[in-house]
Symmetry: C2
Subunit: 452 residues, 2 copies
């Protein structure tokens, strides 16, 4: 632990790659044996699928299982292929319920059913229960292994319950308090229990509970849990009856997952399922090609628009010189607005119903930016070319910036309103839309100003 992670990881990756290339598996086993499972994870994340399969087989069964538990679900599902059914079922059975759910979301349906069938009866019941909740819901991510208590119980009674569940309960530090019909009426922290006298009644000790509903969006529930700095949050049904607990580590995992998705889509790519270096180039291409094609097809719009104004360009070729600058600036303004609003949506700072407020703010912002850039553009173009050209450029920048900011700010909200990931919709759409409409504005202004 003392020496920096990355160092050791890099060295390991290099050695492993060489030894696998040299097929020197005996020395490879020696190299691997001293490495802790936690330190093996980053190594796995930097190796190719084949390499991962090789070194995984070289690990002792128990260590292999430990590593498996720590890996991301996509890497886990990679490893499952090519393992014996018995081994697979064993690994799957050893996972926590919530980890099983993540993995089930990864593997093909056929394997998923096999995995479920392989589970011991009681485990299967629990896991299937979670599978009942829709993908992306808080219910699907909650833990069923918790300790709960009752208002009418004493601290001593509750502590006894905690002690009996020490080994299997996933969370014991936040304990939901239930009434006789399992409604969540509050929570007590283990800290609070330790500080109180044994005969104290839980009802005297508990604090109000922050909960999320099982059908709530998992991201919102996770964000809530994180914002309120809770170690675990009770997940309830519509009647506030306890269903499970969302633990902070699962909340972080959900948020990280969502943020990777947003980041990717903001950049116009589908999220990678695996760490970058362990993602085959083919998958990189796949993650980008769709959006790239969509955008390219959209961009043909600009070709059409320009060909409409081809005559104008022939008359005043200089107009063509500013096309990249104008649409580029429009696109940037639009993406700025889209990025800001998309992030605000993710953080829960704005909702779709804030449409009007956002629109007016972005119109004002875009207008100010356009006024500034327009003035500059006018001055420069007027000096470099003619005052008329300057006027055309200035006016276009003003209009394009205002339009782009408004469109960029509103698209994410519309996307969310129609239940599409705001990040998907925003940037690609905006660049295309702003490019095309910006060009139209540009040439219309040019024609009227230059009297063509």
């Amino acid at each position: 632990m003392a020496l920096p992670q990355t160092q050791t990881t890099d060295e390991l990756v290099t050695t492993i790659t060489q030894m696998i290339a040299a097929q020197d598996l005996t020395s490879l086993t020696h190299v691997l044996s001293p490495v802790t499972p936690t330190d093996l994870v980053p190594v796995f994340e930097r190796l190719s699928r084949k390499q991962r399969a090789v070194i995984y087989r070289l690990l002792a069964k128990d260590r292999a299982a430990d590593v498996f538990e720590l890996l991301d679900p996509p890497l886990q599902s990679d490893l499952l292929h090519g393992l014996q059914d018995a081994e697979v079922s064993q690994l799957f059975a050893d996972l926590d319920h919530d980890d099983r759910l993540w993995l089930l979301d990864e593997v093909p349906a056929a394997l998923a059913t096999r995995l479920l069938r392989g589970l011991p009866e009681q485990e299967r019941v629990l896991t299937s229960a979670l599978l009942g909740y829709p993908q992306g819901s808080a219910g699907r991510r909650m833990s069923l292994e918790y300790v709960s208590t009752r208002e009418s119980f004493t601290v001593a009674e509750t502590m006894d319950r905690v002690r009996t569940r020490l080994d299997d309960a996933e969370t014991i530090y936040t304990i939901p308090v239930l009434d006789d019909s399992r409604h969540v009426v509050g929570v007590v922290s283990l800290r609070g229990l330790l500080g109180a006298a044994g005969e104290t009644l839980i009802s005297a000790l508990m604090s109000p509970a922050h909960t999320a509903a099982a059908e709530d969006d998992a991201e919102l529930a996770a964000r809530r849990c994180a914002d309120l700095q809770l170690l675990a949050m009770p997940i309830v049904d519509r009647e506030q009856r306890l269903l499970g607990m969302l633990t902070i580590d699962d909340a972080i995992r959900i948020l990280e997952h969502e943020e990777s998705e947003d980041a990717a889509r903001q950049g116009g790519t589908e999220p990678l399922r695996r760490p970058y270096l362990s993602t085959p180039v083919g998958s990189l291409v796949r993650s980008r090609v769709v959006w790239l094609l969509v955008l390219a097809v959209g961009a043909t719009l600009t070709v059409q628009v320009l060909s409409v104004f081809e005559a104008t360009i022939e008359q005043v070729t200089v107009l063509a010189l500013f096309v990249p600058l104008l649409i580029g600036t429009g696109g940037n303004t639009g993406n700025q607005a889209a990025t800001t609003v998309t992030r605000a949506l993710a953080l829960g700072d704005v909702q779709s119903r804030d449409f009007i407020r956002v629109l007016t703010r972005e119109l004002r912002t875009g207008g100010m930016l356009g006024l500034l850039l327009g003035t500059l553009g006018f001055a420069i173009a007027a000096i470099a070319y003619t005052p008329q050209i300057g006027l055309v450029i200035g006016l276009t920048l003003l209009c394009v910036c205002t339009l782009a900011a408004a469109v960029g700010g509103c698209m994410p909200l519309l996307a969310r309103a129609v239940k599409v990931d705001p990040a998907v919709f925003s940037n690609p759409f905006i660049s295309t839309f702003v490019d095309a409409s910006g060009l139209i504005i540009y040439f219309l202004i040019a024609r009227s100003v230059l009297g063509l």
Copy 2:
């Protein structure tokens, strides 16, 4: 809690806004009184600075303090202005050390010094100790209020220590184990302590500790803590001696902060300090104008490039029609690569030293994408115009995509290598660079193919 947050929040915001407008402070006080501090936070995040100041003054002192503690540092610092010095010092003194540090990073230096001076002696010593660590370091974000134990102690002794620190310790669930010279030799969980017999020696119970150094980057330390699903991680000096604990809730806060920053910069804006709706339009403009100007200035490059080829455009006006499509596609490919690699950097999946691996992967990815789009572009342009034009478009798309992916993938790594935020550097730089170089490639290919 039962009814959806957003609902109540929205209603509150509307009512408050109206009542403040109507200066009806008495009814406003009645409206506020039943609302819990936790529910007031989202309301604060949707009000203007002025409105926030008004309702804050209407809250009873103790509730006001509770709300203050829950607010983001920028909103806290907003409130501090216009409060009595005594009140300010009180609020500041009531914060945890780490919350104080966040706030001190927000307020002007003069106020910061005043705030520190206002602290009780012992508190000031602790806070100043943290201030000793550089901004953005793990040390600056660690908590000094923890419980530690010794290898040689028994479980019972350790539990006694925990009980004495229940009220002030920020974390009691993960307990670092020290040797006689304060080196961290392991950790025990409170869960483990509860499960063990009182006379058990800690050395028999402890597990190896994952630590981070105080001068480590706070983001990396936080990511580590989250990835390892730790509730708290010991922060140590170069000799592995315990300095403090990084708690998971602070880790989440750091990561959220960094992610907002990355998201913003990816979109070419400076991060907002406050929730979107409570950010004045002026600040929105400020957050965007700098990058927009930089990009616009960069874009003038494209004007120069094009003016070099003005003659070519005059000869073959149709070439001008494809300019937006070509540079647009280049920009998209570049941003895709940049976004992917920037995120991989943030997650620690790649480091600067992976430069070559990333470069080769992006060259291959870009090449494949270019081949695909180029073929399509050739076909379409050949049909719509002439085979020569088709060839020009196809070849340009191939070259531009390959170049863009390579540049886009490597820029974030270079940025990180020179200690600049990868997100800052990537997209703005890429769009400009790719636009300009793309145009050069385009017209050079055009000239040679069309023999101009």
